[in-house]
């Protein structure tokens, strides 16, 4: 039955019991509500980041902090390039996931396997990029709680716009960089943990598909549920990208 036809029935019939009024399974509804609550967690992180930035006199410049690229010399000035690549990888892995879900709708086992493998590869590629970026920033002195008590002070000017007044930099630079990197590592770390658990879930689903579990069950709804989670991870990255790299 098409959803529109069902929706037109009287609410007494739809909500009268005996079937899901939303025409969705329990598991899928719960996945949606879990994702909504997770959106508030990420939202709280990003809003506290925004508030802190709002009342800080000085803030690191994203184009100065994130300007390196793997296999390029450290002096290379390529702002936004690496994070754009990461964003693109995650978008593509979201696309392969939706193609896996679509193959599941068609009960096309080979299609589900093919697109799940691509999704897992995309997830691992994204995590590798993030590991590189964290490692790179760590080599430049950035970490949770870094730059306090005058540590690595000589590295600070690299994180700010070139025309920052030296007096302001001396007074506020360490504090601003410390706050910026605390938020950066916490938020990208929390997102990365989501990606990592998503990859694990994807692998479990892939193994179940190969074993024919869903073929026997008669539907591929588990692919849809994990797909929702995976798209959510991509969705959060869209906001992290805007907040940390663009604004």
């Amino acid at each position: 039955m098409s959803s529109i036809a069902l929706e037109k029935e009287s609410s007494k019939v739809v909500w009268g019991g005996g079937r899901s009024p939303f025409n969705l399974s329990y598991g899928k509804i719960m996945m949606w509500y879990f994702l909504m609550s997770d959106a508030f967690t990420f939202g709280a992180f990003l809003i506290s980041y925004g508030t802190t930035r709002f009342f800080s006199a000085l803030w690191p410049d994203a184009n100065s902090v994130f300007k390196s690229f793997p296999f390029f010399p450290d002096t290379a000035n390529l702002p936004l390039m690496f994070v754009s690549l990461m964003t693109f990888i995650l978008i593509v892995s979201s696309v392969t996931m939706v193609l896996a879900v679509h193959a599941g709708h068609c009960r096309d086992k080979a299609g589900v396997i093919k697109w799940m493998i691509w999704t897992i590869i995309g997830g691992i590629a994204f995590l590798s990029c993030q590991a590189w970026e964290w490692n790179h920033l760590h080599h430049h002195g950035a970490w949770w709680g870094s730059f306090l008590n005058g540590a690595d002070a000589e590295r600070l000017p690299h994180f700010f716009k070139h025309d920052t007044a030296p007096a302001l930099l001396a007074a506020e630079g360490a504090n601003a960089a410390n706050k910026f990197f605390n938020f950066f590592f916490t938020i990208t770390g929390f997102h990365g943990a989501h990606v990592a658990s998503g990859v694990v879930l994807n692998i479990i689903i892939l193994l179940n598909t190969i074993n024919g579990t869903y073929e026997r069950r008669g539907h591929y709804e588990m692919v849809e549920k994990v797909g929702l989670y995976w798209h959510f991870v991509d969705l959060v990255w869209v906001f992290v990208f805007t907040c940390f790299y663009l604004l």
């Binding site: 959803s3 069902l6 929706e7 009024p21 939303f22 025409n23 969705l24 509804i29 949606w32 909504m36 959106a39 508030f40 939202g43 709280a44 809003i47 506290s48 925004g50 508030t51 802190t52 709002f54 009342f55 006199a57 000085l58 184009n63 702002p79 936004l80 754009s84 964003t87 693109f88 978008i91 593509v92 979201s94 696309v95 996931m97 939706v98 193609l99 879900v101 679509h102 193959a103 709708h105 068609c106 096309d108 299609g111 302001l168 007074a171 506020e172 797909g227 929702l228 798209h231 959510f232 991509d234 969705l235 869209v238 906001f239 990208f241 805007t242 790299y245 663009l246 604004l247």
Partner: protein, 109 residues
């Protein structure tokens, strides 16, 4: 639905179309970030970034997560709670503005 049917092929075409949109939006954001940001009023640039971000989010939720295909009531149970974010942003900007004022008042910047 058969994987080779016209319906299935139309859906796959739509997925790739949305992929192209998402990619184009990201490229536009990067171009603005590299070449426009800093030459224009920050307010307009940032408003543009936020609008493009929300557009991307809407495309992902509506098409990739298939929320657009669900019942209206289901869509509303997801979207209405998220409107709390409007209040959060207002409240926390007001809080930030207060801190800014206090910091200026006591000379801590």
């Amino acid at each position: 639905m058969d994987a080779q049917s016209a319906e299935s092929k139309a859906k796959v075409r739509n997925i790739w179309k949305i992929t192209a949109y998402l990619t184009i939006i990201t490229i536009v954001e990067v171009i603005i970030g590299l070449y426009v940001s800093g030459h224009m009023s920050k307010f307009y640039v940032n408003s543009g970034f936020i609008l493009l971000t929300i557009l991307k989010a809407a495309l992902i939720v509506k098409v990739f997560m298939h929320l657009g295909d669900e019942f209206k009531n289901m869509i509303l149970t997801i979207l209405i709670p998220l409107t709390l974010f409007i209040w959060f942003i207002i409240a926390f900007l007001a809080d930030g503005a207060f801190w800014l004022k206090i910091n200026h008042m006591f000379g801590i910047r």
